[in-house]
Symmetry: C2
Subunit: 405 residues, 2 copies
């Protein structure tokens, strides 16, 4: 059952179940996805306040003040931040005020300290211009009832400050989907074991582990098992409590490509077995009781691209995000791409700006290792199906490896 990438994404996303929400301490909320929209329960600032240290007064009293002809006012109170003055400002009087303190009743302006001189209780105002502007008005930043952060937004430092400002000491966030990850392959040894002849280490589990974390989900590493039906079934039993199951290896059509059969024997309904893209064609996708199973290739290039294109959008949607795909830009090739392309192709790449132009180059040349390419990459070049080899200067679509915002 071969499908286009778009079909594969649509099928998988249509089955994604959004996780429930949970409360976390605000300090632990960085990078999580907000679970309920934050509305302003009051204005901000919550009262008229002073933006500077100076004197609150009646603006009309001091319009004529100059260093030569200062206006002299009587100081009637002193309001540090956090304190409310009980004395009203009347014509001819002024109240000492600190940054952030509420404007006292009666005052219509603030003069900064540097434009005054104080002798005993007499305030000499040396420059009275702009007094009325020196008030931050109640609600000038935020009006009561305003929507401040929509559910589904990833919480950054600005959102943390805003949540604090509105008293969300324990905001609701979406639970992070847990992803069971099993590598299959008789050639694999665990990362902490010595290599034997014919063996390689299980690097896919750790590569995909990183991709799962980047997608805001929680990896549950089940290690590696040989290409044997019983071993795979036993390995997957430990996946029962997880929200998504991902395997690598055995997803193609060889003697030892057992994943499709294993999924079916577990009662998983197969959705598709092949996606029209390179690398990453072998993908066995299935669903059982609403839980998604993705069998990726054992080839690291294919597994990483299939994860990026299919599993990442799934995990973002499950994790409550509203945008599931990377941002894209158009850029010009700074190095040729010499392969012609049948199925649509993704190439690890690096983009930069030069002379006002956005450029992009495959991150390392052909024949080099996939992991090296991925380490050096900050983007993926997306080459449409049926493209000829591309020369330097050709315009291509580039998927940036950052969050959409």
């Amino acid at each position: 059952m071969a499908v286009s990438l778009e079909e594969a994404q649509n099928v998988v996303l249509s089955l994604a179940r959004v996780m429930p929400t949970e409360k976390v301490p605000l300090t632990m909320s960085y990078g999580r996805v907000l679970g309920s929209t934050l509305f302003a329960d009051r204005d901000f600032p919550p009262f008229n306040r002073s933006p500077l240290d100076g004197y609150a007064l009646i603006a009309a009293d001091v319009v004529s003040a100059t260093p030569e002809q200062p206006v002299i006012l009587q100081q009637v109170d002193n309001v540090p931040a956090g304190t409310v003055s009980t004395v009203a400002v009347k014509p001819g009087t002024a109240c000492r005020i600190m940054t952030g303190a509420p404007i006292p009743a009666g005052a219509t302006g603030v003069i900064r300290l540097e434009d005054t001189k104080t002798i005993d209780n007499q305030v000499y105002v040396l420059d009275g211009r702009g007094a009325a502007k020196n008030i931050c008005l109640k609600g000038e930043e935020i009006a009561a009832g305003e929507e401040l952060i929509a559910a589904g937004a990833k919480i950054g430092f600005g959102a943390m400050g805003m949540l604090a400002m509105y008293g969300a000491a324990e905001p609701y966030v979406y639970r992070q989907p847990s992803v069971a990850l099993l590598s299959t392959g008789s050639e694999l040894v665990p990362v902490n074991q010595p290599l034997a002849p014919g063996k390689i280490r299980n690097s896919n589990s750790y590569m995909i582990c990183g991709q799962i974390i980047e997608a805001g989900a929680t990896p549950v590493l089940l290690g590696s098992v040989p290409d044997e039906r019983e071993a795979i079934v036993a390995g997957l039993q430990r996946a029962e409590d997880c929200d998504v199951v991902i395997t690598t290896g055995g997803a193609s059509v060889g003697d030892k490509d057992l994943i499709g059969g294993v999924f079916q024997s577990m009662g998983v309904k197969i959705l598709f077995t092949r996606v029209e893209m390179k690398p990453g064609m072998p993908v066995v996708a299935g669903v059982k009781d609403g839980k998604l199973f993705l069998g990726l290739s054992g080839n690291p290039s294919a597994a990483s691209i299939a994860f990026e294109q299919i599993a990442r959008p799934l995990l973002l949607k499950m994790g409550g995000s509203k945008i599931w795909y990377r941002p894209r830009i158009q850029a010009r090739l700074a190095a040729p791409f010499k392969k012609s392309t049948g199925a649509q192709r993704f190439v690890w790449a690096k983009w930069w700006q030069e002379g006002g132009q956005m450029l992009v180059a495959p991150s390392v040349m052909q024949g080099n290792g996939m992991l090296k390419s991925a380490i050096a990459a900050n983007s993926l070049i997306c080459i449409p199906a049926n493209s000829p080899p591309l020369a330097v200067g050709a315009e291509v679509s580039v998927m940036l490896l950052i969050d959409s915002d």
Copy 2:
């Protein structure tokens, strides 16, 4: 002691002490900074291997094979992945081989399964072209001795795979600097407390907490204290075990701007007290026994920008990173910036591409809240000192809020 931003950065970075390294389990290494350069201790692949399921054979035996005139070979062994064949391939023979399995002795090519037919032990090769290309050569991806990941690199999914491939089950990473964070201000109430008249919640601690985490460091929140010398000193005593101390509030020149004095009373040598940038001018920087103290403004705009421009590079350097500043691009203003600029200025902004041009706009209009602007931003417009108001289409430098790579 006013300094330029560049001077402030240089002074602070020159005093940065790089953290020691520690071991972490590979699964916990995502996003950490690699503490020791990874070199390849052997080739990868570690042996010649098959990229596909098929038959290993002597390529010269089958060059003439066609569906009409197949070449018939004798199957002598079957090598699944992870297994080494003990039988050498001789002229007229072939060995069944699986993806990833070592090429048997004597074989010089592999023919994929789809181009063969097997009857009993006889392998009918129907198409013999390209057999010699179907071998992944030992070391073709990575040569023994190669530098794979330099110390100081942030560990992403590709690096996790590479570390696994080379057996780094517990890689060394730089310890994350711990940052004590104390907010000062008599108007502040803790986030979980009700507001009283004249009070606002302590949002700076949580905003900066997010910025500390984004910079790869560990926040240690000390809460808020009133603008009183004794309270600030007492609050900072709990900062003793931390690698950096950051405060907000009291960094300017008013009656209640106590931070400089408190730092000095603690034996902190003051480095500078003011940085020529907007927002973020009031910054009291000091050092004691090699530990850096940064007193930021209590104004959220000023505190967040001063953190971004001075504290973030410091924390990146302390955390072992080799690149301390954000990447920049040039873009054109999609909305005017109407203020003329004395000191150099940073403006929260959003960049995008449109019609092949990179555009940028201040993330919200003037007068709106700083936190709203920061939440909507993916970049900072950097406006040089002494700039006039800027019209739509003006070219500006834009700092992208992503890691450099």
